[in-house]
């Protein structure tokens, strides 16, 4: 722990012009980004980084890109883009050792809950009856579980009879599934059309 005198010195250093060059040194900036990602307990958005670093986003993105490559070459850590921000994580190859030190995150999702979550992710905002129409079975338990886990949230009500709740995925959903944003989800059509073709083939074979 720093004593008061040292704190003041540190504060002076932070505020002084020596620490923050008039025209920011790229090397220094890159190190600063590294520090910010290290201390942050959640993904840092580009806007947050911009607010702290006071430089344009193109520069930040370029420097993060460089950092990512450097980390890939030599580090046990990696910088990933997740939930609309950047985060420092351990490399998957090292998971075995890390999990010996600390338990990995434990979320148990049943097949039904995952299915429900997929429907919400692709069709959000969506109501409870609409989910059940697609799945063909009662989905209350799944929705309750997903709400409990903070993977989905209520974002409003549909102005239709009964004013049902509208559900959408949360930032935590992106984080837990390692998604940059919702657009990173592969288009659902690729799976749907594949199945549709298969079905048609089946019915044709049956007919002949």
């Amino acid at each position: 722990m720093l004593n008061e005198g040292e704190m003041e010195q540190a504060n002076d250093a932070v505020c002084s012009q020596e620490a923050k060059a008039a025209e920011p040194d790229e090397r220094q900036l890159k190190r600063a980004i590294e520090c910010l990602l290290f201390v942050s307990d959640k993904p840092l958005s580009l806007n947050e980084l911009k607010g702290v670093l006071e430089v344009n986003s193109e520069l930040i993105q370029r420097l993060i890109g460089e950092l990512m490559r450097e980390y890939d070459e030599r580090s046990g850590l990696a910088i990933v883009e997740v939930a609309g921000g950047y985060q420092m994580v351990t490399r998957p190859e090292c998971a075995f050792y890390v999990s010996r030190l600390r338990q990995p995150r434990r979320i148990k999702l049943s097949r039904a809950s995952l299915e429900t979550l997929a429907i919400i992710a692709y069709r959000q905002p969506i109501t409870h009856p609409e989910i059940e129409q697609i799945r063909g079975v009662d989905s209350s338990g799944c929705i309750a579980r997903l709400l409990e886990l903070g993977l989905i949230k209520v974002v409003g009500r549909r102005e239709s009879p009964g004013r049902p709740y509208l559900y959408a995925t949360t930032e935590r959903f992106l984080d837990v599934f390692g998604l940059k944003d919702l657009s990173e989800l592969p288009p659902i059509e690729q799976w749907q059309s594949k199945v549709a073709e298969a079905e048609i083939e089946v019915s044709e074979t049956k007919g002949s």
């Binding site: 290290f38 307990d41 959640k42 990696a78 990933v80 997740v82 985060q87 420092m88 994580v89 351990t90 490399r91 998957p92 998971a95 890390v98 999990s99 600390r102 990995p104 995150r105 434990r106 979320i107 148990k108 999702l109 097949r111 995952l114 299915e115 979550l117 997929a118 429907i119 992710a121 692709y122 697609i134 799945r135 063909g136 409990e148 886990l149 903070g150 984080d175 837990v176 599934f177 390692g178 998604l179 989800l185 592969p186 659902i188 059509e189 799976w191 749907q192 059309s193 594949k194 199945v195 549709a196 079905e199 048609i200 019915s203």
Partner: protein, 282 residues
């Protein structure tokens, strides 16, 4: 058709032959062992599962099966058992629910080929191809999400291998602690509640005493009040010291009692005027 030859007689035929006749399906008929709960209804006697099997094979008409009767019989049966046997009960519920589903499905109007159904653009006719296409579309949509669920599972597993910083509590930073509730039953909750109640200090129990009020007490009060006011009182003045509805009611009964015993008189100048109560002249 004779009894015992293993054939199935529909209810209608059975009634035509002999109204009180019951069909008893015997062991040789059973395709495999049914040993669950036995039902006893007019058209069938035997294990409920067998009934479901017969319905599925179209050998018994689900519309002829009185499900309410079966259920109430089962409930009686349950009351006879000392404790609820979860295995038997859940098996019964599953079978009965399946029968109920089959029965209700028959009652719902089904869009038939060529039949007019209400569409978004008013009534429209669906051809066999269109119905097939509609079902295929829905199936395709659903299957797409199943694939998507698998994709999410893979993403999750990959992401779980990448650790973020730990906070001091030992969990991962930014991850709210998740309490696994999966293995908690209602009985655990009841037990927890009892424990919590036991831990309450004894002093936390409050006893609220109700003020006791009797007709005799109110008679005394009315008489003393009227003695102090020779000019008489309105009824509401007699209730001045009442704190509850019950006390007002008891006061009113006391007043009626006093009037009956001719100890007080009540006067009213004209209809709807206040009623004034006096001590009766002795």
């Amino acid at each position: 058709m004779r009894e015992g030859d293993g054939g199935i007689v529909s209810h209608a035929e059975a009634v035509a032959e002999k109204p009180e006749r019951r069909l008893i399906f015997t062991a040789p008929y059973e395709p495999y062992s049914f040993n669950g709960y036995h039902v006893r209804i007019s058209i069938f006697e035997g294990p409920l599962e067998l009934l479901l099997y017969l319905v599925r094979r179209n050998e018994a008409d689900v519309r002829e099966i009185p499900l309410a009767e079966i259920t109430s019989q089962f409930l009686e049966h349950l009351q006879l058992m000392r404790e609820v046997n979860i295995a038997i009960t859940s098996e019964f519920i599953l079978t009965a629910a399946t029968l109920l589903y089959l029965k209700s499905a028959l009652l719902l109007p089904q869009p038939e080929i060529g039949e007019e159904i209400e569409g978004d653009d008013g009534p429209q006719k669906l051809s066999e191809e269109e119905i097939k296409a509609m079902l295929t579309r829905r199936l395709a949509e659903y299957s797409g999400y199943r694939e998507a669920a698998e994709y999410l599972q893979e993403r999750f597993e990959r992401r779980a291998l990448m650790f973020t910083r730990f906070n001091d509590e030992g969990g991962q930073v930014g991850q709210p602690e998740v309490v696994e509730l999966g293995s908690v039953s209602v009985f655990d909750l009841i037990w927890a509640l009892r424990e919590a109640l036991n831990r309450l200090p004894d002093g936390s129990r409050l006893r609220i005493k109700r003020r006791k009020v009797t007709v005799a007490m109110r008679i005394k009060a009315i008489l003393s009040k009227l003695r102090s006011k020779p000019s008489g009182c309105a009824f509401w003045e007699l209730c001045d010291d009442c704190q509850t509805k019950l006390e007002v009611i008891v006061t009113f009964i006391a007043l009626l009692e006093l009037i009956r015993q001719r100890l007080v008189t009540a006067e009213q100048e004209k209809p709807f005027a206040p009623i004034v109560v006096h001590l009766a002249p002795t």
